[in-house]
Symmetry: C2
Subunit: 231 residues, 2 copies
């Protein structure tokens, strides 16, 4: 198909398609003339993935590039692909204070005690040390087990089911790669939204008040106007 058809099929504006091509996030089409190229269904799929990562996953363009390189690297084992996607998302922490280094050492010990198989260089270890440092700066020196036990237990059970729902290791490479990227990145957004919604429901039960309203009759275009403070 032509670029205009690619744009129409995916709903991605032509200018954005050209931008992704320039950035190398979308492979070039097959040249069919001086100013023409032909795009395939593979382009449609890749374009949808790139757009979802950028617009929904809020993944930085440079990180999208790293994720796609991993997806396209047929030599990468499935578990390493998951690692590559996670590590692209984790970003880099730049913490050197004593408190943070202590927290980081505790994270290593904690994960060891949990028996979780985590690479020594996983940047997610730093992410967790960031979170612990922040939590402790507010709640004080709470032991790591008390701080994280509840959440770690839930996270591990959910992750077990998430990973079990992925295709088997011998599934077609493209299918597997896409499922990993979706499961790690895009489900992060869905999980975060569901966490907040579930908290609102649980809170309305524990702290009932006149402000609690039913979901019935919600209009899709209700916008946040600070109206929760009106109630």
């Amino acid at each position: 198909m032509r670029m205009s058809a690619l744009s129409q099929t995916t709903g991605v504006p032509v200018a954005t398609v050209k931008f992704y091509l320039r950035e190398g996030l979308l492979p070039p089409g097959e040249r069919t003339g001086v100013n023409q190229a032909d795009y395939s269904d593979a382009h449609v799929r890749r374009l949808r993935l790139v757009r979802a990562l950028v617009e929904v996953g809020h993944v930085r363009l440079s990180d999208v590039g790293a994720i796609l390189s991993a997806v396209d690297d047929d030599q990468l084992a499935v578990h390493d692909l998951l690692g590559a996607v996670q590590y692209a998302l984790a970003g880099a922490a730049e913490r050197d204070e004593t408190g943070w280094r202590d927290a980081r050492a505790e994270v290593d010990d904690y994960l060891d005690r949990l028996g979780w198989r985590i690479r020594p260089d996983a940047p997610t270890r730093n992410q967790l040390a960031d979170a612990i440092t922040g939590l402790r700066s507010v709640v004080g020196p709470v032991p790591i087990d008390d701080l994280l036990g509840l959440h770690a237990g839930f996270a591990r059970r959910l992750a077990g089911e998430e990973i079990a729902s992925l295709p088997p290791a011998d599934a077609p490479r493209a299918e597997l790669a896409e499922a990993v990227v979706v499961g790690v990145s895009l489900y992060g957004q869905a999980s975060a939204a569901l966490r907040l919604l579930a908290q609102e429901d649980a809170s309305s039960l524990r702290y009932p008040g006149p402000a609690t309203t039913s979901a019935a009759g919600a209009a899709p275009d209700d916008r946040h106007t600070g109206s929760h403070a009106r109630s």
Copy 2:
């Protein structure tokens, strides 16, 4: 205490303290001289909370202001305080496409069917519609129950325990407010990190390969250098 002592106690540089004062995120100290003010333990606590929200929660300064206004509004019921914090974090989606509006209507219907008590104007509804739109753009028109059922079930059970661990409604206002802010915002980071770590562990079991290494001997300063691709 003087500003220098406030800075030392909290580890927040004096320049940053002054910046927070100018931005109204920290209330002014009690004037004790032309160029001097006295700060209290309440300032220490507020400063730690602001810094944790900004540095760990990655909350925008304008949103920190909205959260603190809610914390300081004694007239706000606890459940409304939780809403205010969530809504400040949720940001604003700007989606008008048909696909998104359909997803948003499905979200309303889904939450109704789950029986979750969510305000009609909760921006978290938009967040979930964003996530669904993104997921479907990659995985196709999967029914919402199949897309979210697993995650919604876990989210609700975890939220039930999270909210149950908050102080009772008649606890001192400041204690309650801080617990809500920490529980909604800072635990979001810890949850996200634990989710990724738990996925790595589950993946190493389902997709075992030569790259899987033990956590033992991890050094706190291991940095992300793309070394997972080496393995």
